[in-house]
Point group: C2
Chain length 358, copies 2
């Protein structure tokens, strides 16, 4: 256990969940299901069972450091990696790797987003154990692939080289979000798994791979190895982070490296990427309505997703197939099948009324 580390990434803004998610309080800090714990807190809780809590790092944007401290008071300052700018996942994961290597050069690291829902926590823990054991032995970049349960078009897929009966298999290709026809073929073939975005690797393995595939990011870190773990690290990041390429770890590393493996797993996983995902994932009443929060009276209403503040009463009559979300100073009612318009709403709100509602 002493070599196990975890990096929880929670620097995103989650605009697809506007207005529930706001610039000043993105989705990972929200309690979507009324459990009393935000997505970040749930993620931290989940990993605390399999990783020594003092080895769990939180990577976030500088503007959310206070929120992280508020939600996870047990996380000490030295375990919060505060990015001075948004730079996508590759620079963030590279920084975390160098930072952790300075602490423990034998570290095996699991890197995870903070906005997943996982239902079977025991199966999940077992899977992390298995992955950690694998990367300890083999210089592999391991990604968790989820057995697909439906032809979801909102996820990326991983195709496996089916050359063994083990859970861990070499990856053949990564595929971006497919259309519905392709998604159906993927699922039926049995060769494709959902790309969860959870990665496990030994710190030396990932740094070596990044040196090869992401030199424009890693060279800066490599030439300044001595600053990591020292008081100068913060200044160094502030001066250099902006210059890192804005690139995802999937595109920049996983799709290029040859030592990529997938751990095929099944533990009731969902990426809460959109309201649609929340709708699919949540328990519905017999009229297809989901009420995640607030008190409700519904009449002649079907297939709505309704989320309003806890202390509010919503009366809904004759409304179907809608998303009804209220949060702070914004009430949004839109058709469920038009939720991609939310980005437009945000732009229009900004253009017309400034930052007050963003």
């Amino acid at each position: 256990m002493e070599n196990r580390y975890c990096v929880i990434m929670c620097g995103g803004i989650g605009s697809r969940f506007w207005p529930f998610s706001r610039t000043y309080r993105p989705k990972q800090f929200l309690d979507f299901f009324g459990t009393g714990r935000s997505l970040l807190q749930s993620t931290y809780d989940r990993f605390s069972r399999v990783i020594p809590p003092e080895h769990i790092f939180i990577s976030t944007n500088e503007m959310y450091v206070d929120l992280v401290k508020e939600q996870l008071p047990e996380v000490t300052d030295d375990r919060i990696l505060a990015e001075p700018q948004r730079r996508n996942t590759a620079p963030c994961i590279a920084w975390a790797a160098y930072h952790i290597q300075a602490i423990n050069p034998d570290a095996n690291i699991v890197v995870t987003p903070a906005d997943h829902v996982i239902l079977q926590e025991d199966a999940f823990a077992e899977c992390i154990d298995k992955g950690m054991a694998f990367v300890e032995k083999f210089p592999a970049l391991l990604t968790l692939g989820m057995k697909p349960t439906r032809p979801e078009t909102g996820y990326g897929y991983i195709q496996i080289e089916d050359e063994n009966d083990e859970d861990i298999k070499p990856v053949k290709t990564f595929t971006e979000k497919p259309n519905i026809e392709l998604a159906r073929i993927f699922v039926e073939s049995g060769e494709f798994f959902w790309n969860s975005g959870i990665f496990i690797w030994n710190v030396c393995t990932v740094i070596k791979a990044m040196q090869r595939h992401l030199p424009e990011i890693v060279n800066r870190y490599e030439q300044n190895r001595a600053v990591f773990g020292t008081p100068d690290e913060k200044r160094f990041i502030e001066e250099n982070y902006m210059a890192c390429s804005n690139i995802s770890i999937d595109f920049g590393l996983m799709e290029k490296a040859s030592n990529v493996f997938v751990l095929c797993a099944e533990f009731g996983w969902a990426d809460l990427g959109t309201w649609g995902a929340v709708y699919e994932f949540s328990e519905k009443d017999r009229y297809g309505n989901i009420a995640t929060k607030g008190k409700q009276l519904r009449y002649d209403c079907n297939n709505n997703l309704i989320a309003v503040p806890e202390d509010k009463l919503v009366v809904l009559q004759g409304v179907s197939d809608c998303i009804v979300v209220e949060s702070d100073n914004v009430l949004m009612i839109c058709r469920r099948d038009d939720e991609q318009s939310i980005r437009k709403f945000i732009t229009d709100a900004k253009v017309n009324f400034g930052d007050e509602f963003i």
Copy 2:
């Protein structure tokens, strides 16, 4: 002018405007059109032009006295008639008559609800002048009848005896809210006017009429004439008001008395009885939407009435023919043609969640 008095009745709860209107803040205290003045304040302003303001009395329920004082700080305590219980309009108007008679036995009184909209204030003022002059000369119970502009089924109608060319004519019958076919016939006939619920009479005339038609209410007052205008009046009302019949002045007096006249007028009048009335009355954009308050972004939305707090942004997409109202801790979205269900919503809210949302 010294004999002119006014009684503004504002003790109702306005449940048809829930959740905008609440038990603790009924519709007459709300600013429906964003003018900066509530319906009560607008009514007071309007009558202040034709009645000496120190002769304007406010009749309200005890629970709204503080709201009245807050909204009309110029109204002194002695001009607020606080009903200890809800007893409909007859007991309230009777009390006001005895109260004012004790101050000025020659008083001519206009009695008015507080929830009307009147567009042509000059025509209105002229009409009050004419009515006051009439009841000074003749012992008539005068009601203002509005020339109908459409076959409205939400109003009561007054049929005139068309025996002269004057604006003031004897009343033939009062009619309750008609169905649409009947309403069309009424409007086409030219013999019917909307019953505004605004009355003008000399104090002696109305007391005499009530002695005849509402003895069960007025006898108590009559036998205790000496208390009106004294410090004992409050105690007397508290002890006797509850025993008064719960009856409207229309049913209890106007439909029975023989000396009832109607002053036919036209001054852009509306009784804001329902959301439908507000919808009909308000200016709409080219998509038929009315936004009385709050900031809005609308996409593919038609014929909605939207009222939310001033500081809130509403994003509405793909929603038509609805009432969208948010006020304090309640958000209501219902079909415009189902607004009669609001009473049911209130009952259900009370049964399920107690008084918190009523």
